[in-house]
């Protein structure tokens, strides 16, 4: 098995070893060791929560450098719909798309367009009615990975359709290799990404062998390049193809609203997603047919690799949605594309929380864990480097931490050691013992403490 890949990493030089990230991580995947945060790789779902909360910007995502596009003869950018929300001063969507192309691409194809095709396909599945309720969107890879590690019983509920990004890349490669008569390997397709999770889904897809996308460039990396040519756009090209339905996918609720049924629920923010998935697991949301769940607050517009404030970006993108509505472009009606959109692989349960392979051993460890946890102060202060007292107890039974990592436990130990030393100090060898001296000394020390 290939080692587990994920794209969120740490910039050691910037990390101060504070506890902000360990507290927010939804899978308890970060510990502080030797004044630096350490990510437990197999636990990380690339939600990007730590990137967002780190006050020192020490968490980053591995994305591809812009120069990578030079490795391909024909270079295509496929921008996430959230890109449009980043440019307040842009006169139109075509301006942004043209400027993106001018940075060095031969062609630009909107992921928003592919999103509309996915919308149409999802609608079909919903009308046929043969699906486990509720169907859970697979558009956000961090949510799919969350389900893999924390909600295995919901794996069957995942919508097993390509993501709009994958479909966009597939379309681009197919169409251009035909029209230009070049092999698909000559075409480099680059996703302009708002988040780390998408990078992971390109480098290590869970639903198939290999992604159709060749690289991921973060919105924050390409932002200035686009901005600097945005004002120089002389001939605005007619690149936009997607209607408002596709553009709206950048918002939380965009995917589900497009399905034309009220039996949908849209949730955003990884911790909110967890609460909703728990309700689904307890079968408390039976009247919901489709769940749109996005790891970032505000949906992809709130992605950790975006530039513009999410609330501002929402206002900006509304302009493009309204404009597309006015023009009456509705991509969901289009039936020209005929691609296979069903996953060729499947996601599997990754039991990373398991304490031991052997049930009996796991039982013993769990019992010890409970016993240790009971003795810990329950403050969840994080000073030990683990996100909570229970997590520390878990680390101890896993053998990666000690009870004295807890500063309160350590203080207790130091105190009892000090008491022992005091006791020993009183026990002078009889030949040296000058009673009066010892007593005087002890009294003196006591006085000091009271003051």
């Amino acid at each position: 098995m290939s080692p587990y890949f994920h794209s969120v990493t740490l910039d050691e030089a910037k990390c101060k070893g504070c506890t902000n990230c360990i507290k927010r991580c939804p899978t308890e995947a970060i510990r502080v060791r030797k004044s630096k945060a350490r990510i437990i790789n197999e636990r990380c779902i690339d939600c990007g929560e730590c990137i967002r909360v780190c006050p020192y910007h020490a968490k980053k995502a591995i994305t591809d450098s812009f120069d990578m596009i030079r490795n391909y003869k024909f270079k295509v950018a496929i921008p996430a719909p959230s890109l449009y929300g980043q440019f307040k001063p842009a006169p139109s969507r075509n301006h942004i798309l043209t400027a993106l192309k001018m940075t060095g691409f031969d062609h630009v194809f909107e992921v928003a367009r592919a999103a509309e095709i996915i919308t149409a396909e999802t609608k079909k599945i919903l009308t046929e009615g043969k699906f486990p309720k509720p169907l859970i969107s697979s558009a956000c890879p961090a949510v799919v990975r969350l389900i893999q590690v924390r909600f295995p019983s919901l794996i069957d509920n995942i919508l097993k359709l390509e993501s709009p990004m994958e479909l966009a890349a597939k379309i681009v490669k197919n169409e251009f290799s035909k029209s230009l008569n070049i092999p698909q390997s000559d075409i480099g397709v680059f996703f302009i990404t708002p988040c780390a999770a998408k990078v992971t889904s390109i480098k290590a897809p869970y639903e198939k062998e290999k992604s159709f996308v060749d690289g991921a460039i973060s919105i924050s990396d390409i932002y200035l390049k686009i901005l600097s040519v945005l004002n120089d756009v002389e001939k605005v090209e007619e690149i936009q193809e997607a209607g408002f339905v596709g553009v709206r996918w950048a918002n939380s609720g965009g995917e589900s609203t497009a399905l034309g049924t009220d039996k949908v629920l849209a949730v955003d923010g990884i911790h909110n997603v967890i609460s909703i998935l728990e309700e689904i697991e307890n079968e408390k949301l039976e009247d919901v047919d489709f769940l749109e769940a996005l790891a970032c607050q505000g949906g992809c517009l709130g992605g950790p690799l975006t530039v513009e404030n999410m609330f501002v970006a929402k206002v900006v993108i509304k302009k493009y949605i309204d404009e597309a509505k006015k023009k009456g472009i509705d991509g969901t009606q289009d039936k020209n594309y005929n691609y296979d959109m069903v996953w060729t692989g499947n996601v599997e349960y990754r039991p990373i929380m398991k304490l031991d392979k052997d049930f009996e051993v796991a039982m013993k460890k769990l019992e010890t864990l409970h016993a240790i946890n009971k003795e810990l102060p329950g403050l969840d202060c994080g000073a030990c480097g683990a996100p909570s007292c229970r997590a520390l107890a878990e680390d101890i039974v896993r053998g990666s931490a000690n009870e004295t990592d807890c500063i309160f436990k350590l203080r207790e130990k130091v105190r009892s050691l000090a008491m022992q030393m005091m006791e020993l100090e009183e026990k002078m060898p009889p030949v040296l013992d000058k009673e009066g001296n010892v007593k005087k000394k002890t009294r003196k020390r006591g006085d000091k403490n009271e003051g």
């Binding site: 924390r150 295995p152 019983s153 794996i155 728990e278 697991e281 307890n282 079968e283 408390k284 349960y349 039991p351 929380m353 398991k354 304490l355 031991d356 392979k357 049930f359 009996e360 796991a362 039982m363 013993k364 769990l366 019992e367 864990l369 409970h370 878990e394």
Partner: protein
Amino acid sequence: MTNGIIRQNFVIPADDFTAAGEASSSVKKMLIQLGVDPQKVKKTAISMYEAEINAVIHANGGIASVEIDRNKIFIRIEDHGPGIPDVELAMKEGYTTAPDAIREMGFGAGMGLPNMKRYADLLEIKTEVGKGTTVEITVYLS
């Protein structure tokens, strides 16, 4: 751990819908850490959750005790509530005695006992009107 059994007790608080479900949630966490099959975790979590909610809605809370061993998960939820006059009727889907206020909150749809029956491998209900109810849920692991 005595004789290969893990025992845990939980207090189910009265009239607290936000805290209801915490016991089944911690049991779920334990089972996942033990590496129990996800489908069995689900069966346990749902049936226990329903029993917990029932104790909150009808009986001013109660006590949940959980025993896990290699072969099974055994959950006993005990309350000193009003008891169930007609268990057979209560087992019917949609039959409910929950007050309107609770139904408006989305609880008390008359699915509690039917769901417990559906997901537990063994369900035993001992009840006496005026005294209380004890629900025993067993989910087999092997």
